[in-house]
Symmetry: C2
């Protein structure tokens, strides 16, 4: 069966919520797509594979030459920032910015969507917590949608692939509440930018801080596995 939607699945909490939204709320036959681009947080990819299995969704991990993405703290260039005030995350472009990442991911997902006749791409970008990343903003998604209309076969034939970003305007706590309603087990996900080889979280990178605050604000238990000696980050 052709998939109806390609779901970009990093293995983090947001993309896991997107998978639940597409597969369970929308009921779309999905194909999950992950990318191995040399990211230091490889346990995310294992989490993505596990999550796709749990959802019974076919899963493809596409390997990318790591060289174009080398200028990021997530691929080994410099340190992942730790212990920042969550209220300040999202101001300015962080060192964890990966050059043109969502542009590349959406482009490859578009190629796969045309090849597999999928109508939609689902991406877990969020413009509130991650406004520091230019490729997580609504204006970027709008212009990318326009590129699909003008630059692909399906677009010029009048059926452009549609970009779905269901989390775009949600707070982290709202994302977790949506996932909880859809029965998501967030222990499947790895959000940390700097996990240990077993996928246990550092507790102090931006992604850990936002995640812990999200569970707290949602009034949900935090199922994150932290490294030994690390306690869940407290209120900032």
């Amino acid at each position: 069966m052709d998939p109806k939607a390609i779901v970009l699945l990093s293995g983090g909490a947001d993309s896991l919520t997107c998978l639940a939204w597409a597969a369970r709320e929308k009921g779309w036959p999905c194909l999950a797509l992950s990318f191995d681009y040399g990211q230091a947080h490889g346990p995310e990819l294992q989490a993505a594979r596990r999550a796709a299995q749990v959802f019974g969704v076919p899963h493809l991990t596409a390997r990318l030459d790591p060289e174009p993405f080398a200028a990021s703290a997530l691929t080994g260039a410099g340190q992942v920032p730790k212990g920042r005030n969550p209220a300040r995350i999202g101001r300015g472009i962080p060192s964890t910015y990966v050059p043109a990442r969502n542009l590349v991911f959406l482009s490859l997902a578009s190629a796969l969507a045309e090849t597999r006749r999928a109508e939609r791409i689902v991406i877990g970008v969020n413009a509130l917590d991650y406004s520091g990343y230019p490729d997580c903003r609504p204006e970027f998604l709008r212009v990318f949608q326009e590129a699909l209309r003008l630059g692909t076969r399906s677009g010029v034939e009048g059926n452009p692939i549609r970009i779905e970003a269901p989390l775009l305007s949600l707070k982290k706590s709202e994302i977790f509440l949506l996932g909880a309603r859809l029965g998501v087990d967030y222990s499947l996900s790895v959000s940390c930018y700097d996990p240990d080889p077993d996928g246990r979280a550092c507790g102090s990178c931006d992604a850990c801080l936002l995640r812990a605050r999200g569970f707290r604000q949602a009034g949900l238990p935090d199922p994150t596995r932290y490294r030994s000696g690390v306690t869940p980050p407290a209120e900032a």
Copy 2:
């Protein structure tokens, strides 16, 4: 030294002309970028490597998972059309369309450009002979440029990577005359969609027909190596 321009180098005649334009006419320090995406015409990639060597330009071949690109005659899905009237090439989207190819290539080139601090990407798209490909049209390039302005670090910091398409409005004969003026040896290039393993051309696919007509109209000798028994295509 950081390159000033990333040149997309397929190994065909157009991208070879672009390399000459960027390196010799503009004098930019270049980095040539090729993609191995499972294309049947692998000898093009060998041609790209050789051409970069001749120009003394560093060269990167990025391997891409072939699965997203599987729905094309260039990647093995169906037959490459042969013997078409050159005047009709460019009407409608041909079976040699590769899903979202230039979107993917430009996106990866953009990532590499940000990582290597290059200011420009040079691409050999041409809207006259290849108007059947949606991703070879000026309106697509314009919206991609806008995606770079809005969706990348360099863009939001006010220095978006610039897309250069010096061949966009040239006829094939004009492309060859430009190359001849810049000392390009077109025997280095492989245009054929269906070459033999030695890179010798079939003489009857769209790319062979347009190339032969271009040399003829430019009044230049055709240095193409054809398969044994094949003579250069005559006037249609």
